[in-house]
């Protein structure tokens, strides 16, 4: 990535502040989308993105370039989100409709453009998928259906991401009512 080359030049010269000034605009949207795909809530994702960049800022002088800059930043993002999920865990119950998880799902549905029962049902179906499939599905459509970007952001091989997405979409086709799929 050309931007990364510029950042890495600054890093090599020890100009960490200058490098960081380039890192934020280059990565903030993708970091946010990755965080959103994991946390499923806009505000929490933005907080996680903030926390990620604070950590990047602290750790940037120690970045040794063994991994690609993006890989490193996405790993920090995933860890930040996992810590947030771990923090929430005591209140999470998949069976409880009042759980934080269920409220997040409801909030994300409610934040859509308009009341649409079919859309709501589809989002509910997505929420029934295993977490890794949910993350992959959300990120895939947020990232304009780029398998490579999803693989880089989730830190997985391309084939694993393709498999995850295939299983997820196949499951959704099985779960969706036939008339619902045909309706569109």
């Amino acid at each position: 990535m050309a931007m990364d080359a510029g950042i890495e030049q600054h890093l090599a010269a020890g100009r960490h502040a200058r490098a960081f000034d380039l890192v934020v605009p280059a990565y903030k949207d993708r970091v946010f989308r990755l965080a959103y795909s994991i946390l499923k809530e806009r505000a929490a994702a933005e907080d996680a993105a903030q926390e990620t960049f604070v950590r990047v800022w602290k750790a940037l002088p120690g970045f040794d370039g063994r991994a690609a800059l993006g890989t490193w930043i996405y790993a920090i993002t995933r860890n930040t989100c996992l810590m947030e999920l771990r923090r929430r865990r005591p209140t999470v119950s998949f069976d409880d409709p009042d759980s934080t998880e269920a409220q997040h799902a409801a909030a994300s549905i409610a934040s859509g453009p308009a009341a649409d029962p079919e859309r709501d049902n589809l989002l509910r179906l997505v929420d029934t998928l295993p977490h890794n499939q949910q993350e992959a599905v959300r990120l895939f459509y947020l990232e304009d259906r780029s398998y490579e970007t999803v693989a880089e952001q989730l830190g997985m091989p391309l084939g694993t991401v393709k498999n995850l997405l295939h299983r997820a979409r196949k499951r959704l086709m099985e779960l969706a009512r036939p008339d619902e799929v045909k309706a569109a």
Partner: protein, 183 residues
Amino acid sequence: MNDPTLIGPCTDYEHDLVDLHDGTLAPDRARVVRRHLEACPRCRDWQAKFAILETRLAAALPRPGLSPTFDAKLQQRLAALVRPPVRSDLRAALEREHDSLIDSLRRGARRHAILGALGSAAVMLCALAAVRGLLAQGAGLVPSVADGPERWLMLGIVGVAMAVAALGWSAGRNGVPTLGMLR
């Protein structure tokens, strides 16, 4: 491969159908899959449903964006990370200096108060001794050292001299208790 009792696409073509939809299938393989699709209604049906699901998912999944204040908030957080240690270090140093100054002033004031009190006590004692000697002497102004009563007068004069010297020294050290009247 076209068993109508089965549901879903033909197993051999399932992944290829997705890749064909994504446009990532190699041209040679794509030709084979298209030929298969012409002959297989089950795969055609599955592929059509898959395309519909894709469209619906792309439309249904929320696409939130960062708030416009993201950069400003981040800068604030980073600034807060940098400044507090510097500010707290400076504050701690100033507090240490202030405490040290106050301690030193308190020690000095205590010493001066003690010396002043001692000087005052000496003055009072000597003055009392002198008054007693003067009263014992009666109206006599030149005492005799050898005589008993004169001895008291001599002692009184020496005491007064010592008291004046003590007061002078104490005043020189700014240690005379003034009860705040000179402030």
